[in-house]
């Protein structure tokens, strides 16, 4: 099938008029391509700007993970307040912690371990959204 497509057609004589027509059409196409590209590019830039901080935020979230573990291990020394400050800062940039829920949804949950016969979820690492888009899923363990 593909071989047939490859066969070159007999070269036919083109009149000047046909050529003009072809060139004009190609030019129009090129213009249209360019204008459409510009529109797409504008959309992409908009999206890019919206999520430009994403990588930095993700690295900061890792620090907050550590703080959260630390405040559980060593409660009452003010680490909770520091964590809270981070969460407030995140909110300012449209970053929010995902509520775990109680039904497994792979769109927001990432399972890293399952206890045999388990059917409940336990959060082991928080998930986050940025401007309603998931930037990190909630890590869960399935437990009994």
């Amino acid at each position: 099938m593909t071989e047939e497509n490859n066969k070159k057609e007999e070269p036919k004589q083109q009149t000047a008029e046909e050529k003009t027509e072809e060139y004009l059409n190609n030019w129009k196409r090129e213009r249209a391509d360019f204008l459409n590209y510009k529109k797409d590019e504008a959309r992409r830039v908009e999206e890019f700007v919206k999520f430009a901080n994403k990588d930095l935020i993700l690295e900061m979230i890792e620090l907050v993970d550590d703080l959260e573990i630390a405040s559980k291990e060593v409660p009452g020394v003010g680490l909770e307040q520091v964590t809270k400050k981070f969460q407030d800062l995140f909110k300012k940039y449209g970053v929010e912690r995902i509520k775990m829920g109680n039904k497994l949804e792979p769109a927001i949950h990432e399972v890293i371990e399952t206890e045999p016969g388990g059917n409940k979820m336990k959060e082991v690492r928080a998930g986050y959204t940025m401007r309603s888009k998931i930037i990190r899923p909630v890590r869960v363990r399935i437990i009994k």
């Binding site: 593909t2 497509n5 190609n26 196409r29 090129e30 391509d33 360019f34 590209y37 797409d40 550590d66 573990i69 630390a70 291990e73 497994l104 792979p106 769109a107 949950h109 990432e110 399972v111 890293i112 371990e113 399952t114 082991v124 888009k133 998931i134 899923p137 890590r139 363990r141 399935i142």
Partner: protein, 624 residues
């Protein structure tokens, strides 16, 4: 015209791309990612997951999560490969009625092609969503060693997904296409593909209008995942040495080590040392245990040297099987994320004695090449227009011998650009336009393409006249430089043919010079700019004094004159700091005295001159 989707249907991950305005571009999936895990799953309630969602629930649903189906597609159940992989796969497979493989997904037995079709379907839907148009045609890539049955099954998968598969092409061929090597007649190309789970090596030969596979080799069970495993094992043993605790059975801990391993691996591709720092990794009866260690690139390389060495041995063997010597190879192309590792680049370079190509993202190069193939096929209908670029920057000489760029290097032609310049002295009757080519900061270090003089400029103070200089390069590469006095409409121009007619060596030398002398040039430019600023300020201050002869106090005049003198003396020398200091001092005094003047004549009216000027300007702009 509908776009043809280029699809890299990988063992671990897949990617897709389309050609837009002659250039291939990766399309992100619905989740916003540039690659999609090649995984399909059926949940407990029959819901279907494809891609990253399937991956996220794999641990809790291993029997119904199908990954690496590419290892099974188009194969016979009795194949040694299938029998070997069977033990490694947590899902069930069986022999189909025609001797092929069947996979159990939920309560149904499916052909591997049907599983691949689900992945393709998702890619198709996500692409349509992204582009806002229907996609009906695709180019799909397969490993070069795939036989007819495997190719046919891959094609079937596409058709099941509702795609007309215009062609099934080899992954290494796609990579070569992405680099445009299909135009390199009679060249021999090696594609080194170190993926997540497989290592493939291919030797290609480019002839008149085909790319032929001369030999293939590799290891279907060698990849970046093995490297990750080595790092994790190293972390586990280091932690054991430090704390005496074995954490290898604790999935939560292993997961955190895995995250850190991946991060460290990425970082060590660009730095020589990184810090692994995991607080509260675990705890014993004495309290929490943290994990901190410094991890060097040298250590990482030591951990995986044998794996990389194995790939190099396989590469040697394959090139020899193609009946070639290492020195016969013209180009080496890197594919697969793991090839970002400096050790791999170094070893491959050592083997072939030449720098491998790695400019295109190695995770995306195959999909991009598939899109290029689609573009070539569409080119049958509409000729692809090839456009040249300017090999070096073009500009003119301005005050202080500085090269002012008008068109940056690598600008696509045809192109035109204009900018307004002015005079540098009072009553200057003419300006010289000195057309230059090159990357250096100072005019004298660049190549002169031509010069001409625009005269008949009516007497006016410096900075007054508006001289519009325009550069135009047509589709044939002919440069036209025009200067026009906006007040009189007088113009002069020069036509320069073959402005890009530089030999490759010349281009290379000029670009290399620009890099070599960048620091020196920056200094020269800074000096020229400082001088210009000093001179301009001295000039405007002098004018202010002259215009307000009676209003400025004698002491102030004396102060200004002394400082002007200092600036004019400084600009004759070449001490940038001195010029800047003198200019700043003059600026301070001039601002203070100017401010006082302003207070005195607070209620002066704006002149009508301004209005006339604006009108004139907009008129001439409309004309051009």
């Amino acid at each position: 015209m509908a776009k043809i989707l280029g699809i890299d249907l990988g063992t671990t991950n897949s990617a897709m791309a389309v050609v837009e305005i002659g250039q291939p571009r990766i399309l992100e999936n619905k989740e916003g990612m540039r690659t999609t895990p090649s995984i399909v799953a059926i949940g407990k309630n029959g819901e279907r997951y494809i891609g990253v969602t399937a991956k996220r629930q794999a641990v809790t649903n291993p029997a119904n999560t199908i990954f690496s189906v590419k290892r099974l597609i188009g194969r016979r159940y009795d194949d040694a490969e299938v029998q070997r992989d069977k033990a490694l796969l947590p899902y069930e497979i069986r022999k189909g009625s025609s001797g092929d493989v069947e996979v159990k997904l939920g309560n149904e037995w499916k052909k591997p092609a049907e599983i691949s079709a689900m992945i393709l379907q998702k890619l198709k839907a996500d692409a349509e969503d992204k582009l806002g148009e229907k996609i009906t045609e695709a180019i799909i890539t397969v490993p070069a060693y795939f036989d007819d049955a495997q190719r046919k099954a891959t094609k079937d998968a596409g058709e099941i997904a509702g795609l007309t598969v215009k062609r099934v092409i080899n992954e290494p061929t796609a990579a070569a296409l992405a680099y445009g090597f299909n135009k390199k007649k009679d060249e021999k190309i090696v594609v080194y593909d170190f993926g997540g789970g497989t290592f493939d090596i291919s030797v290609l030969e480019v002839s008149e209008d085909t790319i032929e596979v001369k030999a293939t080799g590799g290891d279907t069970h060698l990849g970046g995942d093995d490297i990750d495993q080595r790092i994790i094992q190293h972390f586990i043993s280091e932690f054991k040495k430090e704390s005496g605790m074995d954490v290898s059975k604790d999935q939560l801990v292993v997961q955190r080590l895995k995250d850190a391993a991946e991060k460290a691996k990425h970082e060590l591709s660009s730095t020589l040392q990184t810090e692994v720092n995991i607080p509260f990794l675990t705890a014993d009866s004495f309290g929490p245990k943290h994990f901190t260690m410094s991890f060097t690139r040298a250590k990482l390389e030591e951990l995986v040297r044998d794996l990389v060495g194995k790939s190099i041995e396989l590469t040697k063997k394959t090139v020899q099987e193609a009946g070639l010597k290492m020195s016969d190879i013209h180009e080496v192309v890197m594919v697969g994320g793991q090839t970002r590792m400096p050790l791999i680049v170094e070893e491959v370079k050592k083997l072939f004695g030449k720098e491998p190509h790695k400019d295109i993202n190695p995770d995306e190069v195959v999909a991009l090449g598939a899109a290029v193939q689609g573009g070539i096929m569409q080119g049958d209908i509409r000729d692809v227009l090839l456009l040249d670029v300017t090999p070096l920057s073009l500009g003119i000489e301005t005050l202080g011998g500085v090269m002012t760029k008008m068109l940056e290097k690598n600008t696509t032609v045809p192109v035109s650009k204009s900018q307004i310049f002015s005079t540098a002295a009072d009553n200057q009757p003419s300006v010289e336009i000195h057309v230059l080519q090159g990357e250096r900061a100072m005019a004298t270090d660049n190549k002169t393409l031509g010069r001409f003089i625009l005269d008949g400029i009516p007497p006016s103070p410096r900075g007054g006249p508006q001289i519009e200089v325009s550069f135009d390069i047509d589709a044939n590469g002919i440069l036209n430089v025009k200067a026009k006095d906006k007040a009189t409409g007088k113009e002069q121009s020069v036509r320069i043919e073959g402005s890009s007619g530089l030999s490759d060596e010349e281009k290379k030398r000029m670009t290399a010079d620009a890099e070599k002398f960048a620091a020196e040039d920056a200094k020269k430019k800074e000096l020229a700019e400082a001088r210009n600023m000093g001179e301009t300020l001295a000039y405007t201050t002098e004018k202010m004094v002259k215009d307000n002869e009676s209003k400025i106090k004698d002491d102030d005049k004396k102060e200004l004159n002394a400082k002007m003198e200092k600036v004019r003396k400084a600009v004759k020398g070449d001490n940038v700091d001195e010029i800047k200091k003198a200019t700043e001092e003059l600026s301070k005094s001039a601002q203070r005295i100017g401010g006082e003047l302003y207070k005195q004549t607070n209620n002066s009216q704006p002149t009508t001159n301004n209005a006339e000027k604006t009108e004139e300007k907009s008129e001439s702009e409309a004309k051009s």
